[in-house]
């Protein structure tokens, strides 16, 4: 039988692989909106950036691996809400699964593991952000009972303005 994947907290040694997946995610986002043009200089610094993500105590980064090979990751930022209750929120800002492991419930497993992690910290609000035109992500979150709670709109300010 094929070994099942494991999900664990990401460590510094995972930086390079997390960076590769993060870049794939950013390139995917590039497809949805011109405001997500990927900065190649950031790609070059990918491992360093990933290292920062993992070591940041305001982030929870989980990695999925199969037979020692990374196959997906999820990152949630822990945020404080000054005026609102509940006071704490975990916002998923990075979520990527390698193509051949999609449609295998790995996404749901990563999401559930993240829920467990934030619950341990006493956080009850989990949110997710992704490009508006990413209908695949939209479908995924809606399926698991996420609903729209905030909208972000953008405009490019021209030189003449």
């Amino acid at each position: 039988m094929e070994p099942k994947y494991i999900i664990r907290r990401a460590e510094e040694k995972d930086s390079t692989e997390i960076a590769k997946m993060a870049v794939r995610l950013k390139k995917l986002n590039e497809e949805f909106d011109t405001q997500f043009r990927v900065d190649e200089s950031a790609v070059e610094r990918g491992t360093e950036i990933a290292k920062g993500m993992i070591s940041n105590s305001n982030n929870i980064v989980l990695i999925a691996e199969k037979a020692g090979k990374p196959i997906g990751f999820i990152l949630a930022e822990l945020r404080t809400r000054i005026f609102y209750l509940p006071k704490k929120e975990a916002r998923i800002t990075e979520f990527y699964i390698m193509p051949e492991f999609r449609r295998t419930n790995l996404g749901l497993s990563l999401l559930n593991e993240m829920k467990k992690e934030i619950k341990k910290l006493g956080i009850s609000l989990l949110s997710a952000e992704f490009p508006t035109l990413n209908t695949i992500a939209l479908k995924f979150y809606k399926k698991f009972l996420f609903r729209e709670i905030i909208s972000v709109y953008g405009t490019e300010i021209s030189e003449a303005e």
């Binding site: 794939r24 390139k27 995917l28 497809e31 390698m98 193509p99 051949e100 695949i136």
Partner: protein, 442 residues
């Protein structure tokens, strides 16, 4: 002696001259008797009102009381015509007219060419759907990839008549028929062979999916495009997931060995190579054919010039070679499929067509070659009895699958198709014999 290139140029020149002379290839002619103007009281108003009333109460009667049962729309946006590319709807018309001619001559079908000025995906889909009440089936033609996949899928899902994209499904069906016989020639089994598909456009994506449906192993297949062999870890997979989900799905399930690199690596150790890519002799190198397994099968399907000349492929060790051309043995020609497939679905008043129907058609076509040989794996277009026979198999398959509006035995469908095709051919022969259709000069 006239070479392959010269012969191709000569056809170009004759086609232009004859098009100037004939100014179109098809026309409409009445099929009911008109002996006096009084007859219009039956064929038109007032009598025709009763026919309309009955169809209003039961729209399926439109198949029995009008010519819908035998009408096919040939729809294109002209975005990928032959090997010419995006030539637009007007320039697509001569090709669609030619297709209509084959539909009629081989299948006895009234096919109407409909190049549309509707380049957007949604506009195209909406236009075709709006035409549904007028036709018994739809043939999509020469639409660019990946738009063709979305359009076909959307129309097949939403329409109650068969929708076919010949560049995908016709090519896939005749390729499967040819492969079944080629495998007999080399004594290999479909579940054991390694298949490399060069080019991952409409034809090869459909071929790969049909082969998988027919029992070839997905993991033993390699699809190659301009970026190399498809495999799940390739950097463009996410983009592909959004833009071309069918090709993406194939990237997920083929290439079990996770081969990387390009055509050369994909051909090494292949039993079968199917190329539907660049119309350029020598695009497939002889050395690459030499690296295939013994008794290799090479289908070089680009038109007008195959990716490797048959002689070169054979010199390099291929046992069976097929191309898209009629001037070489083993022509992988959609015309061996679509006239009879449409005859079949029309006769059954089918609501749709699927891989099972296509496999049944391919197996029937393959059976027409009793003892396949390296240079004879597919029938030729002049095997007239093939058309009604395949049509009957297709019609009966739709009955078995619950897709048919009309239930009959296979024998009934065979007799029916034979009669329709023969009657149509007799009308045409008499027009030709009496000089009403003028013969080509020269």
């Amino acid at each position: 002696m006239e070479g392959d290139v010269q012969r191709t140029k000569r056809y170009d020149s004759v086609a232009y001259e004859q098009s100037l002379k004939y100014k179109g290839k098809i026309q409409t002619l009445p099929k009911v008797p008109i002996t006096s103007l009084q007859d219009f009281s039956v064929w038109y108003t007032p009598g025709v009102a009763e026919v309309s009333r009955r169809i209003k109460d039961n729209t399926d009667l439109s198949f029995e009381l009008t010519g819908r049962w035998n009408s096919v729309a040939i729809v294109t946006d002209g975005t990928r015509v032959l090997g010419l590319g995006n030539v637009g709807p007007e320039a697509a018309m001569p090709v669609m007219e030619g297709k209509a001619l084959i539909f009629n001559y081989l299948g006895g079908i009234n096919a109407i060419p409909l190049p549309l000025r509707a380049s957007g995906r949604d506009e195209f889909i909406a236009t075709v759907k709006a035409l549904e009440p007028s036709f018994g089936a739809f043939n999509l033609e020469d639409i660019e990839s990946p738009k063709c996949f979305f359009v076909l899928q959307a129309l097949q899902k939403s329409m109650e008549v068969p929708v076919w994209h010949d560049d995908q499904l016709g090519t896939a069906s005749i390729t499967l028929a040819g492969l079944l016989n080629a495998l007999k020639v080399v004594g290999k089994k479909r579940e054991d062979v390694t298949v490399t598909l060069i080019g991952s456009g409409a034809a090869n994506v459909a071929i790969a999916n049909l082969l998988i449906a027919a029992g070839f192993r997905a993991g033993n297949m390699y699809l190659v495009d301009h970026m190399g062999i498809l495999q799940p870890e390739r950097a463009d997979m996410d983009k592909l997931m959004l833009e071309n989900p069918l090709k993406y799905d194939l990237a997920m399930k083929t290439n079990a060995k996770r081969k990387k690199d390009g055509i050369e690596a994909a051909m090494k150790g292949a039993d079968i190579v199917i190329s539907a890519s660049k119309s350029e002799a020598g695009f497939i190198h002889k050395e690459w054919v030499q690296e295939m397994n013994d008794d290799g099968i090479v289908f070089a399907l680009a038109n007008p010039v195959p990716e490797i000349w048959p002689k070169d492929a054979k010199d390099a060790g291929a046992k069976v070679v097929a191309t898209g051309r009629s001037d070489f043995p083993n022509q992988i020609n959609n015309s061996l499929v679509f006239p009879s497939l449409f005859r079949g679905v029309l006769d059954a008043r089918a609501k749709g067509v699927n891989f099972e129907v296509m496999i049944a058609a391919s197996e029937e076509i393959a059976r027409f070659i009793e003892e396949p040989e390296p240079d004879r794996i597919v029938p030729t277009m002049d095997q007239w009895e093939m058309y009604p026979t395949v049509a009957a198999t297709v019609a009966y398959k739709t009955v078995e699958l619950g897709l048919a509006r009309r239930q009959h035995s296979r024998e009934w469908f065979l007799e029916n198709a034979t009669e329709i095709i023969d009657a149509n051919r007799r009308i045409y022969s008499s027009l030709l014999k009496t000089g009403l259709i003028k013969k080509m000069e020269g």
